[in-house]
């Protein structure tokens, strides 16, 4: 909510002309979310500081958005916006200093292209990823970056640093460029959250940004972060349930995995391994239990399977899968071969029965171990297709991931990760209980010591169904 900009250049107070704001006055600008104040704590020919203080009205902020809608998240009411220098400050900056940002000055046009030694100070800038992100974003533009982390709570030292930094930027450049940098980059510093982000809009901002953005080495990251920040907190049902239980929405609504780069080729290998197993048993109809965004379904549809059913417990994942599969525009001939439904592997569901094969890729490890019996009963006992293909991480392989802490799991929602021996024991016991035989296979390159990254079990019914 506070940003100051200081120069000690000769004729420092000329800054007022360029900013179109008189140093001797305090000015107020009404914004939809509060009032922007512009004043000069110091304005001499030797040194001039302009301050933009945004006084956010947190009550109006929410009420203005439609008080009749009670579906807001608690985060709408208690948040850092009154304090943090983020998108609102950028918006106010863009409005209050519009002329300067555009590089115009009618009274003293010669000032526009003058370069100034500038020091920008924003005492609370949300900067996910730490100070080095600020360095990465502002550094290439000619700023010297000093980002001091702010502790989360000085009385609870164990909590460490917050995501805020006390940011000081020093550099010599045109004022219009400095304002442009702040206008675009301040909001992006905040935005490492990938939650609720659509990824197809990435290029838009790059096109809309100025010349400096197009040439910026980190422009992809800037675009991604900028868009992530803009998306609003949609109050989905699961977000509300997270809230009543004092959890963050991201904690529960993680059905669409944010895959680590290392696992992208692995995901492809996994799909290919599943496809090979399905081909081998001659399956023509397949139900994908826990289909997520539909990557496997997409492959199976292209491979000509006759009947496909994607099942997921997350409505958001299903929406995403429908988009990926272009369900609304598929020609009838293809559309009639595939369906998506919401269901759960911990409940029996007649709609899931009657397929040649069921696939559970990277699903079992998301269940608490006591719920596995329900999954076994629902899939092997009740749906009971001739073939069931299960994949799951091989915990032994985790030591080969340098970024993974010892003993840590690959995803925060994994309730367990099995060793090869544990997986085999589970698979054989489950197969025995429900009249299947099981064969175990590696997926991905087999490490001589720790085995493959992913393991697969192919269950086959003992009696033809």
């Amino acid at each position: 909510m506070l940003l100051t900009m200081t120069t000690d250049a000769e004729g420092a107070s000329d800054l007022g002309y360029l900013l179109h704001k008189h140093p001797g006055r305090v000015q107020e600008f009404e914004q939809s979310f509060g009032v922007a104040h512009v004043f000069y704590p110091e304005a001499t020919d030797e040194r001039c500081t302009v301050a933009l203080l945004l006084e956010v009205d947190p009550v109006a902020l929410v009420r203005g958005k439609g008080q009749r809608d009670a579906g807001f998240s608690l985060a709408q009411y208690v948040n850092d916006r009154p304090y943090a220098a983020s998108s609102m400050l950028a918006v106010a900056l863009g409005r209050v200093f519009r002329t300067a940002l555009a590089g115009r000055c009618e009274a003293r046009p010669e000032l526009v292209d003058r370069t100034w030694p500038l020091e920008v100070h924003a005492p609370a800038v949300p900067c996910r990823g730490g100070g080095e992100v600020a360095e990465r974003l502002f550094g290439p533009l000619g700023w010297q970056v000093d980002a001091t982390p702010i502790p989360l709570d000085p009385e609870i030292p164990a909590w460490g640093d917050s995501r805020y930094v006390d940011l000081r930027l020093t550099g010599t450049m045109r004022l219009a460029d400095a304002l442009s940098h702040l206008y675009v980059l301040l909001p992006t510093l905040d935005a490492a959250k990938h939650y609720w982000v659509g990824s197809d809009e990435v290029d838009k901002l790059v096109r809309a940004g100025g010349a400096w953005l197009a040439g910026h080495p980190a422009r992809e990251e800037i675009a991604r972060r900028y868009l992530a920040h803009r998306t609003t907190l949609a109050a989905s049902a699961i977000a509300r349930l997270a809230e009543v239980d004092d959890a963050t929405p991201e904690e529960l609504d993680d059905a669409i995995a944010q895959e680590e780069p290392r696992s992208v080729p692995l995901a492809r290998l996994r799909r290919e391994a599943v496809l090979a197993a399905l081909r081998e048993v001659g399956a023509r109809s397949v139900v994908d239990l826990g289909c997520g965004e539909g990557e496997l379904l997409s492959l199976l549809l292209a491979e000509g399977f006759e009947r496909l059913l994607g099942v997921d417990v997350s409505p958001r994942a299903l929406t995403s899968a429908a988009r990926r599969l272009h369900l609304d525009t598929l020609p009838d001939r293809l559309r009639s071969r595939i369906d998506l439904i919401q269901s759960s592997v911990t409940y029996t569901d007649a709609r899931v029965a009657g397929f040649d094969a069921a696939v559970l890729t990277e699903v079992v490890e998301h269940l608490d171990p006591p719920r596995l019996a329900a999954l076994e009963r629902a899939v092997l006992g009740t749906a009971a297709p001739a073939t069931v293909v299960v994949t799951t991480p091989n915990a032994e392989h985790n030591v080969r991931y340098p970024t993974l802490a010892a003993g840590a799991m690959r995803h925060r929602d994994h309730r367990f990760e099995w060793t090869r021996e544990e997986f085999a024991a589970w698979a054989q016991a489950a197969a025995g209980r429900f009249g299947y035989t099981v064969e175990l296979r590696p997926v991905g390159a087999v490490d001589p010591e720790v085995g493959p990254p992913t393991q697969m079990a192919v269950f086959r019914a003992e009696v033809a169904r």
Partner: protein, 879 residues
């Protein structure tokens, strides 16, 4: 006019009228059947083509007709098809339709002279087809007449001539299975298999007096109170005296002292006695040999008896269904080949097990009906309830027991087999030998086996849950969809998730002053609803926790199906476990030890006056608690949201103050802004202080505290709920636990009783709240002292929260106390929150009561799931 001719028609049947155009079918149907009972092909042609005579629309019209007829038959409604039906193919599709909906097909032929039909058609302007059409139909009809029974019609009535048609009267005959008017009481007896001695002993134990013939053989048994026995079939084979058993049971049935359904062994016996080729195995040889010693008249009587038995019976207003192998709900009071087959043999998966016996489909796991279903057929070591069904075949002939269930008392009465009469193909486990046999069965009420998985149709879609407290509660489809994700991915097993707590409404907004909430509004609310005494309970600074603790792992396994090493659960208000299994067990041990030391198992077990509450000590205990600190559950939220806001404020505001002070020094007029900014800095400090009270370090159980404040339910097997005990009783139980706890983890709840009719007492309540909140407390919850209270407009709110001024900073934001903000925030709308709180309360209590009554797990889960679904409804999260 002829004499009236009575045409008997089964009450649930598909009546197919057969007659040429103009034979008077529609007139006949209108006279004999109800307004909606007749489906006419002409009418359906009109529906799909705007023209009842448009022959081109015939296929579509019959498609519609079949569809409607199918829905009507599913609903158990007699249905009449008014079409010519002179072609065999047309009739075949209707016979198939009736069979696929398990109704009986009935044919009524209107055989009216051709000239009458021709004259009628000519008189109607809309029928412009030629006479040849009628002639062709008549030819087809004539060819059809003889074969109707062979086509599958179970009843065929042929009315010849106009007079017979006009004189006919339909009489609806109940199905043979329909004995709903018989209310018992009954003693339902499992598979006897020729064990006459055990049967005599069981009847004796049940209080029947045996009647013997001159040779001393029992030929009847009567109960002095008029009770009747119900035999579940398989009276014969394998055992020592099948004829003796038959003689006794046939006598009892003939005398009206018993009912019986056939078993697969009787079915086979009839075929053997008829001389049809059957494989003489599974003990049939013994029976045939024994019967050979009997006179031919007896064998004939046996054949007639066994052949006349109806495969299933529906008794007691439809509340009790008996069939040898059980019966799924869609087949109750239905008649078809597959209904009979299910009743005799059950459903098999088509596979065989390692002993070469057919693998049976566990239909009872899927059973959702309200009727109790009793059956035999598959020997089990102990009778257990599965979804309101029970198998009473306890393998007497294999050396097990002969079992009866008293109905409606639902008491088990057993006699032990005198010896192993027959070696089973598959080893028959004696009672108590298998790990999955609930010891609860020994209580006499029968144990329970909950299926380890529920069906998606138990929860998904728009649902209406019937509650005793608030009637029908509706759950919207999108809320169920949202809840499914949380329930499936994060909640504990439905068998253990027997309750979820309701949301709680805050008090009405304080009209003025520097507070948003004040006790006066909570007191006023209850006073105006006629409540005199309330209890104020300290609102702990933690998370709501439900604790289900079992006395020992045996109870956990038997009553809840929990895995070895598990003795309970501790879960949040959305059903998520607080801790990993080992920390959970450690906390459960604390609660269990305290309960044992306080004598609670005995105290709460014997207190129940529910079924089976015969003073057995409780085996499980369900407690409503608060678990501290809040940071145990919500540390992520505290750090990412609350502490972050504090950190940003702590850095930004002093810098802003400094800039403004510099501006003041430079003579700029920023005094007001400076004052406001200083005030905000102070508010931010207050905000940080407020959330810090919810944080303290924990390690394992160290630092974790649990404050029980209400006993939700307790029991041995079934149990009791305690919503009618006043809150002081609940708090006394909690105090006893705290006093008995040697670990320091259990914490008591401060409370104050306020008499709302006494101003001094009310002022004391306000002062108590002010003191609690001034010292950093979150606030209090005001509850009617008597607990569950019904007011003039239904059940009252079970509690109203009054939160402290400082605590509300973390709800409404650091600056909410600024006067201008406060005034705007007073306009809050509580109606929706209050409505939600009441519906969730009704659902939660419904779940508890169903669970305590021993209802199937799907019935409990339905109500629990509905609470979670309602929680996902959008409502102002600050309330």
């Amino acid at each position: 006019m002829s004499d009236p001719r009575v045409l008997p028609v089964p009450a649930l049947s598909l009546v197919v009228l057969i007659g040429v155009s103009g034979s008077g079918k529609s007139t006949f149907a209108a006279r004999q059947f109800g307004e909606f009972e007749t489906l006419s092909s002409d009418f359906c042609r009109g529906l799909v083509a705007n023209d009842p005579n448009d022959q081109a629309a015939t296929a579509a019209a019959f498609d519609v007709l079949h569809h409607i007829a199918g829905h009507r038959l599913d609903a158990g409604l007699l249905t009449v098809v008014d079409a010519t039906n002179v072609q065999q193919s047309a009739r075949k599709s209707l016979v198939d339709l009736a069979r696929s909906h398990d109704a009986l097909p009935v044919a009524i032929v209107l055989d009216v002279p051709e000239d009458v039909c021709l004259a009628r058609n000519r008189a109607r302007g809309d029928r412009d087809f030629g006479d040849h059409v009628v002639r062709r139909q008549r030819d087809q009809l004539r060819k059809s007449l003889r074969g109707l029974s062979r086509e599958g019609f179970r009843t065929v009535h042929v009315l010849r001539g106009v007079d017979e048609v006009e004189a006919a009267v339909i009489e609806r005959v109940p199905l043979r299975s329909d004995l709903r008017e018989q209310h018992g009481p009954f003693d339902v007896i499992g598979d006897v298999h020729g064990c006459r001695g055990e049967l005599e002993a069981l009847l004796d134990r049940l209080g029947y007096t045996l009647v013997r013939d001159d040779a001393g053989r029992p030929v009847d048994a009567a109960h002095p109170e008029g009770r009747r026995a119900v035999f579940l079939g398989d009276l014969v084979d394998r055992g020592p005296d099948s004829p003796g058993v038959l003689r006794l049971v046939m006598g009892m049935v003939a005398a009206g002292h018993a009912l019986a359904v056939p078993g697969n062994h009787e079915n086979k016996l009839v075929r053997a006695l008829d001389g049809r080729g059957v494989q003489v195995s599974h003990g049939l040889a013994e029976t045939l040999a024994q019967l050979d010693a009997e006179p031919p008249e007896f064998r004939a009587a046996v054949r007639e008896f066994a052949d006349g038995l109806v495969a299933h019976l529906v008794l007691d207003d439809g509340n009790l269904v008996v069939a040898h192998a059980g019966l799924k709900e869609a087949f109750h009071n239905r008649a078809s080949g597959r209904v009979r087959s299910f009743a005799l043999y059950g459903e098999t998966t088509g596979e065989t097990d390692e002993y070469g016996l057919p693998v049976r489909y566990p239909w009872a796991d899927d059973y959702r009906g309200r009727a109790t279903v009793l059956y035999g057929h598959t020997p089990v070591p102990e009778p257990v309830w599965v979804n309101n069904t029970m198998c009473l075949d306890t393998g007497c002939v294999f050396g097990g027991h002969l079992t009866a269930l008293r109905y409606p008392e639902k008491e088990i009465v057993q006699v032990t087999a005198r010896r192993v009469w027959y070696e089973p193909a598959r080893p028959f486990p004696a009672a108590g030998q298998e790990g999955d046999v609930p010891p609860g069965a020994q209580s006499g009420a029968g144990g329970r086996r909950d299926p380890d998985v529920l069906d998606i149709t138990d929860v998904l879609g728009k649902r209406v849950v019937e509650t005793t407290l608030a009637g029908r509660v509706t759950v919207a489809e999108e809320n169920a969809a949202g809840a499914l994700e949380v329930m499936s991915r994060f909640a504990v097993d439905p068998r253990w998730l027997v309750y979820l707590p309701p949301t709680m409404s805050p008090c009405a907004t304080a009209p003025g002053g520097d507070l948003l909430e004040h006790p006066a509004q909570a007191f006023d609310a209850y006073r105006s609803d006629g409540v005199d005494r309330v209890v104020c309970e300290e609102k702990h600074m933690g998370s709501r926790a439900v604790v289900l603790v079992c006395r020992d792992p045996r109870v956990a396994a038997a009553r809840f199906g929990m895995p070895a090493g598990t003795t309970g659960v501790v879960y949040t208000r959305t059903g998520r476990p607080f801790f990993d299994p080992s920390r959970t067990e450690a906390l459960l041990a604390v609660v269990r030890d305290a309960a044992t030391a306080a004598g609670l198992w005995e105290g709460l077990g014997g207190s129940g006056d529910a079924e089976g509450g015969d003073g057995d000590p409780a085996g499980w205990l369900l407690l409503d608690c608060e678990l501290m600190p809040w940071s145990v559950k919500a540390e992520d939220l505290l750090r990412s949201q609350y502490a972050s806001v504090g950190a940003a404020a702590r850095s930004a505001l002093p810098a802003a103050v400094a800039a403004l002070e510099a501006a003041t020094g430079a003579g700029l007029p920023v005094d007001d802004l400076l004052a406001r900014t200083r005030s905000r800095a102070a508010n931010a400090e207050g905000f940080a202080a407020a959330y810090r009270r919810y944080v303290w370090p924990t390690d394992g159980l160290d630092g974790v505290r649990l404050a029980p404040f209400q006993v939700l339910a307790a029991g041995a097997d079934a149990g009791t709920t305690f919503e009618d005990r006043d809150h002081l009783w609940h708090l006394e139980v909690a105090d006893a636990l705290v006093a008995a706890d040697g670990t320091g983890h259990l914490q008591s709840t401060r409370r104050l009783v306020v008499d709302l009719t006494d101003d001094v007492s009310v002022a004391g309540g306000v002062a108590w709240w002010a003191e609690l909140t001034a010292s950093g407390g979150e606030g209090m919850v005001v509850k009617p002292l008597a607990n569950l209270v019904r007011g003039r407009r239904g059940v009252l709110q079970p509690g109203i929260k009054v939160r402290g001024r400082e605590y509300l900073r973390i709800i409404y934001g650091p600056d909410y106390t600024e006067p201008a903000n406060l005034e705007r925030l007073r306009q809050r709308h509580l109606g929706r929150k209050r409505g939600l709180a009441l519906r969730e309360y009704a659902l939660g209590l419904e779940a508890l009561r169903r669970f305590a009554a021993g209802e199937p797990v799907w019935r409990v889960h339905e109500a629990v799931f509905a609470v979670l679904a309602l929680e996902s409804e959008p409502v102002d999260p600050r309330l």
